[in-house]
């Protein structure tokens, strides 16, 4: 009885969490402009989403920004983790402490401070995209660092020296021995960097060029406006992202099962 009550609570919470997203998904396939009135079936929202240039521009802009900033963050974070791991304790402490700042800091403060430094003090134009990319790398590189360090701890530290003794150059020893060993950490760090960039609003809003929009800044502006066509097209976007998330979750789940099966 008690157990049943517990499960019922879990189910109710799941319904509450998913109801808004699912209702929006249903309405994205109608021609209604507001939730509550059902009209006819329509895919107009999806047509608008893929044909209106400002919408597809902002989606592609968000994706490219996420991939570019995540790639840069992964390089910085991974090299930083390897270098720091083999440094003196004092260096490790300093890097760990600085690395923790963006992690615990509020995104508003991170975005505002980078804006002040680059745009106000250094006079870098927002239109160069430099402040935006730097901001997103600051946001995500520390998480790549944090994802790689545990893998370095697990690695047999004599492998690198063995590679050097056997005649490998440091570059070879790194690329052929160390990197493959810590690859799972690098990959999850990269994935995390992508999600952080995709979800960011604050850093983008303080550093982005005036004519460029990410999904977050676009959605926030759209809710302030009264453009119905755009509003309902965003319901379609939300539904598509929801479906992509489900597919990724299923894939991760299956990959996890397979791994368990092999072990």
């Amino acid at each position: 009885m008690k157990r049943r009550l517990g499960y019922a609570f879990l189910v109710v919470m799941l319904i509450v969490i998913y109801l808004p997203i699912l209702i929006l998904a249903v309405y994205s396939f109608t021609d209604s402009a507001n939730i509550g009135m059902i009209h006819g079936f329509s895919v107009q929202n999806y047509v608008t989403l893929f044909t209106k240039p400002e919408l597809s521009d902002m989606i592609w802009g968000t994706v490219i920004l996420a991939l570019v900033s995540a790639a840069i963050a992964t390089i910085f974070g991974t090299l930083g983790a390897i270098g720091t791991f083999y440094s003196k304790k004092a260096t490790q402490n300093v890097v760990n402490m600085m690395n923790q700042i963006p992690v615990v800091n509020a995104d508003v403060v991170t975005g505002f401070s980078i804006c002040i430094l680059l745009i106000v003090v250094c006079n870098v134009s927002k239109e160069t995209y430099i402040p935006l990319v730097v901001g997103h790398v600051v946001l995500s590189a520390p998480f790549v660092y944090l994802a790689v360090v545990p893998k370095l701890k697990q690695m047999d530290s004599s492998l690198y020296e063995a590679a050097l003794d056997l005649g490998a150059s440091p570059v070879q020893a790194l690329s052929k021995v160390v990197i493959p060993q810590i690859a799972p950490g690098i990959i999850s760090g990269f994935a995390l960097a992508v999600t952080l960039s995709l979800d960011d609003y604050f850093i983008a809003s303080y550093t982005k060029p005036a004519t460029f929009d990410t999904i977050s800044t676009y959605v926030v502006n759209a809710t302030k406006g009264s453009h119905t066509e755009i509003k309902t097209a965003l319901w379609a976007l939300s539904t598509i992202i929801f479906l992509i998330v489900i597919v990724i979750a299923l894939a991760m789940n299956m990959a996890g099962r397979k791994k368990e099966g092999n072990e």
Binding site: G6, F9, L10, M13, I17, Y18, L19, P20, I21, I23, I35, F76, G77, G80, G83, T84, Y86, T91, V94, V95, M98, I101, P102, V104, A106, V108, V109, F112, S113, I114, C115, L117, V134, V137, V138, Y145, A147, S169, P170, V171, Q172, L174, L192, T195, L196, L198, D199, F202, Y206, I215, S216, V219, V220, T223, S238, I241, V245, I248, A249, G256
Partner: protein, 265 residues
Amino acid sequence: MNGLRFSRKQLCIPYLLFLICFVVAPLIVIIYYAFTNGEGRFSTDNLIGFFSSPNTIGTLAYSFVLAVVTTLVSLLLAYPIAYILARSNIRHKSVILMIFVMPMWINFTLRITALKEILTLIEGNLAYYPFLNSVIGMTYDFLPFMILPIYTTIMKLDNSLLEAANDLGASNIQTFIKVTLPLSVPGIISGIVMVFLPSMTNYVVLDMLYNSTYIMGSLIGSYFAAYDWHNGSMIALILLLIILIFTLATSRYSEEDNSRGGAML
């Protein structure tokens, strides 16, 4: 390339420089701007201005109350979810957990849009219940960050401790209060850290729910919009101090996987 000689340690130099230039330097600039005026002279006007204006002090108090309430509501919802799930004998707990946290991979502005439509349907006009809507919106946004660390700590609990408590005659409720709850404190603290600070600063959730109330983050936003770098920096500095105090106060409970990163993967 094969002739290139370097020590492994030197690989950290680019990242070290990056952190100094784009993490430490911005903070120094913030401190400088917070304590100077428009003419670039040292001034405590921004500091005094913040603490003598009823508006800004009111905003600080309001965002504090909002953050406390949001954190409490999240905790009261997340703890039972995490506890029931972790102690259940469902075969694929990790799948259920994933279903609970999956929404956080959807862009939060889109999730709040969805919530807004539902709330509008229920309430009619969102502007009537600004505080309630803020709490609902933030809880909806941040709940996974509370569920995950609590679930992880309860999963790590040593079952033999609970069995021992039962063997020694404790009732289920006594076991929960004297054993499970105290041992899950680290998870609770991690969850509080991850929910409390965003609740003080994430003003977009409020904006999107047609809310005219201000929290600390909104102040930075409005000073930014007015090109008032000095007062904006003072707010950022005050937030930094709150974050610092919070981090130091909770650091003895910190675990390796308590950051947003640990929560997301």
